[in-house]
């Protein structure tokens, strides 16, 4: 069994992308034969968002490291707050969910 990889999905109810993001995340976990346990954490207030540097929903943490930070492409100057997060897919399209290839790369990097 893999060591306990921690995968968290931070979400905000004002954004409809949570279900899709979770499905895409679980699909990549399955593909990599990793446990598809994802801890869901709702962010409800601006104060909570500030406290965890939540720049938008969904935000995915792998072993505590934010997905795009893990890939060296952090959120830049995005302010923390209750927002829908803007991701850019590898083909340049704007998307409310991360590119599955980015999830794959980050999860492979986190795997022992």
């Amino acid at each position: 069994m893999d060591r306990g990889l921690s995968v968290e999905l931070l979400w905000w109810e004002g954004c409809p992308s949570t279900e899709r993001a979770l499905a895409e995340l679980r699909a990549v976990l399955d593909e990599l034969n990793l446990p598809d346990e994802v801890t869901m954490r709702e962010i409800r207030t601006d104060e909570e968002a500030e406290a965890v540097a939540f720049t938008g929903s969904p935000t995915i943490l792998i072993d505590g490291v934010e997905l795009m930070d893990a890939l060296g492409r952090g959120a830049g100057d995005e302010p923390a707050g209750l927002n829908c997060r803007v991701y850019v897919r590898r083909d340049g399209r704007v998307s409310p969910t991360p590119d599955p290839d980015d999830l794959r790369e980050a999860l492979k990097g986190a795997r022992p």
Partner: protein, 175 residues
């Protein structure tokens, strides 16, 4: 408050990014497409090019497209009037980008998300309300629901699909 399909759409005048006022109902010669949108929502951004393409395609057919930003700029500075002006200056917009700082227009229409699309015929009657098409993630959809509705209105017919569920970020209401 909200308006239903077949009801008269409320008229307002809002400023564009150059400060010029636009009446939402125009001069009564053709349909108007109102798109509630904003600067930072991934759904609005993903659909923007498709809506802009439709605005260009219908420009010669007496169809007006008006984009409206009603988000609370105090909590979301990226939706400020200045940020709207910068965006329009940076990008090639085929439609005016109107500012609804009091959110009165968004409330009167019952706009929920960005984007949220309303097609109003030349007489001022609401004929379509909802999403531009079925999938923000598929550019091949080309805002087909919006285009179908405009085509029907131009033909003097009722859109087959008069209402769909708007999908996107919630409008950021003032608290």
């Amino acid at each position: 408050m909200s308006i239903a399909i077949g009801e008269r759409a409320p008229d307002y005048t809002l400023p564009d990014t150059a400060g010029d006022g636009w009446s939402l109902m125009g001069d009564g010669t053709g349909p108007t497409v109102l798109v509630f949108t904003c600067n930072h929502c991934p759904y609005a951004l993903a659909w923007h090019q498709r809506i802009a393409d439709a605005a260009r395609d219908y420009a010669g057919r007496d169809v007006r497209f008006l984009a409206i930003n009603a988000n609370d700029a105090q909590r979301y500075p990226r939706d400020s009037y200045e940020a709207m002006q910068s965006r329009v200056a940076r990008e090639n917009w085929p439609m005016p980008y109107l500012h609804d700082p009091t959110q009165e227009v968004a409330r009167a229409y019952g706009a929920k998300t960005t984007p949220d699309v309303f097609v109003v015929d030349a007489s001022g009657t609401l004929r379509y309300r909802g999403a531009p098409d079925s999938d923000h993630d598929d550019p091949a959809q080309r805002a087909v629901w919006l285009r179908d509705a405009v085509d029907a209105v131009l033909a003097g017919a009722e859109p087959e699909r008069a209402e769909t569920t708007p999908v996107g970020c919630s409008i950021k209401w003032k608290q």
